[in-house]
């Protein structure tokens, strides 16, 4: 009976069933998890539905979009509203320091890796930074390497992918891309924010008055109500 139901409702409703699952899920929802719920829907169909949903949200360009994160899918707020959200939710974890980011980058690109190899690249003792990254669950111990001293082997966590909005490890920019990106960034140094919505919250009134005439009113309609 349930099967019949499923089949009957499938074409139009499938997308919205998945949407409801995504809405309820607290962590990135994987295709496998969705498949388990829907029972006899195949992977390509689910993926197509998700792609459609993602495109719809993208086109709407509203408060949040559907992103592929850590092997699953999750609703995430758009970057340009972060200042507003920060007024609502508690201050998040302290910024990740430069040293920590460097160490994290080394681990992300060279995992699994032992501490001495990390320190070899950075040229400094990294024990403290590694401990901090462990505490923040960005990296984890995979085990011990069977060499003298049996050093711990480190790797990044799923939480790392979630924090940095990555689909998977392959989603990290390749060394070549890194070079190109940092090159182009050097060339266009004095870059001004053209996105008004990014302005800090105390300014939206001004932004709003400017924008009523402007074409991109869509992005800023929210302001009067918030103020």
């Amino acid at each position: 009976m349930m099967d019949n139901d499923n089949h009957a409702t499938m074409p139009e409703d499938l997308k919205y069933i998945i949407e409801s699952l995504l809405f309820v899920s607290e962590t990135p929802l994987t295709v496998e998890q969705i498949k388990k719920v829907l029972e006899n829907v195949d992977t390509p169909t689910i993926k197509t539905a998700i792609t459609q949903l993602a495109a719809e949200y993208e086109q709407r360009d509203g408060g949040f979009v559907l992103r592929e994160i850590a092997g699953g899918y999750q609703f995430r707020t758009q970057e340009r509203f972060n200042q507003w959200i920060k007024r609502l939710v508690k201050p998040s974890a302290p910024r990740i320091s430069k040293a920590a980011l460097e160490t994290l980058a080394i681990i992300a690109y060279n995992q699994p890796i032992i501490r001495s190899d990390i320190e070899h690249i950075r040229g400094v003792d990294s024990g403290g930074v590694i401990r901090m990254l462990m505490e923040r669950k960005l990296i984890r111990v995979l085990g011990r390497k069977e060499i003298p001293g049996r050093p711990l082997i480190y790797a990044t966590t799923k939480h790392f992918l979630e924090v940095f909005e990555l689909k998977d490890l392959k989603d990290l920019p390749t060394p070549k891309e890194i070079e190109e990106l940092s090159q182009s960034r050097l060339e266009e140094e004095p870059e001004e924010t053209e996105n008004l919505a990014e302005a800090s919250p105390p300014e939206p009134e001004a932004a709003n008055t400017n924008d009523t005439a402007a074409g991109d009113s869509e992005k800023n309609v929210g302001y009067p109500e918030i103020q």
């Binding site: 607290e26 707020t77 939710v89 508690k90 040293a99 400094v124 401990r131 111990v141 909005e165 990106l181």
Partner: protein
């Protein structure tokens, strides 16, 4: 000021540091960027001199620096002296001695820009948010409420689990059915699926004392390896195990 010359020298030094150097590599990158030289063609004499001056400056300022800095100084000096030596006759043309420093420098620069790019991503909890803000982002806030438990509470909890075991099960001194190592990987799998479990739950499938002991040792070892953290809200409450 008629202070002795040594102090006069000290006074002439002004702090010009924009950022503190993380290590010798960081300092070297700074010097090379400042000199605006090609990384593939480092004027080793000039850079070495600046590097050594910098170490001298740190000494004068009584800044402790790690042996790493000294090691780099010796590497640089070594390269410099190699460059001065005429190429030996009859020998195959050797690699540029500067490669010894260029290669790790390139690797370091690559990592540095990879780190910058990571920082520019839509960071969860900063640039982007999810519907239920991730509690793990607020770890430092949570810590105020969670009482970290000591070894004795853990042992008490262990005792209460032992008490639940039917007395008919005698300790028999046969070898382990399962090693601590194996149990760790089992527990890791369980915790990977569940993220957090209560202390008692982890013992659910253990029916005999050896299993319980191995499980307990595995938990201790995992805590030591930082694979898990253990928390208890109130002194008599449920002990929870969190997977990192």
């Amino acid at each position: 000021m008629d202070a002795p010359s040594g102090e006069a020298v000290n006074k002439r030094y002004r702090v010009k540091l924009e950022n503190v150097f993380e290590g010798p590599m960081d300092l070297l990158v700074h010097l090379i960027k400042k000199a605006e030289v090609d990384i593939y063609d480092i004027p080793i004499a000039q850079i070495t001199e600046q590097y050594l001056n910098y170490l001298e400056w740190m000494k004068q300022m009584n800044i402790d620096f790690a042996g790493d800095f000294v090691l780099m100084a010796s590497t640089l000096t070594h390269i410099k002296s190699k460059m001065l030596l005429p190429a030996q006759e009859g020998e195959e043309e050797e690699d540029d001695p500067r490669l010894e420093i260029t290669r790790p420098l390139l690797e370091y620069l690559r990592i540095k820009s990879a780190a910058e790019q990571l920082a520019e991503r839509n960071l969860l909890g900063d640039k982007t948010f999810v519907r239920k803000p991730d509690n793990r982002l607020f770890d430092h806030i949570q810590d105020d409420q969670v009482i970290r438990i000591g070894l004795f509470e853990l042992i008490d909890a262990f005792q209460s689990i032992l008490d639940k075991v039917t007395p008919s099960h005698r300790v028999n001194l046969t070898r382990d059915r399962i090693s601590v190592q194996e149990r760790i990987s089992q527990l890791t799998e369980i915790l990977e699926d569940n993220e957090s479990m209560t202390f008692d739950e982890l013992f659910e499938e253990c029916r005999e004392k050896p299993d319980i002991i191995v499980t307990f040792l595995a938990i201790l070892e995992m805590a030591k390896l930082n694979l898990i953290h253990i928390a208890q809200h109130v002194p008599t409450g449920i002990i929870r195990i969190f997977y990192q």
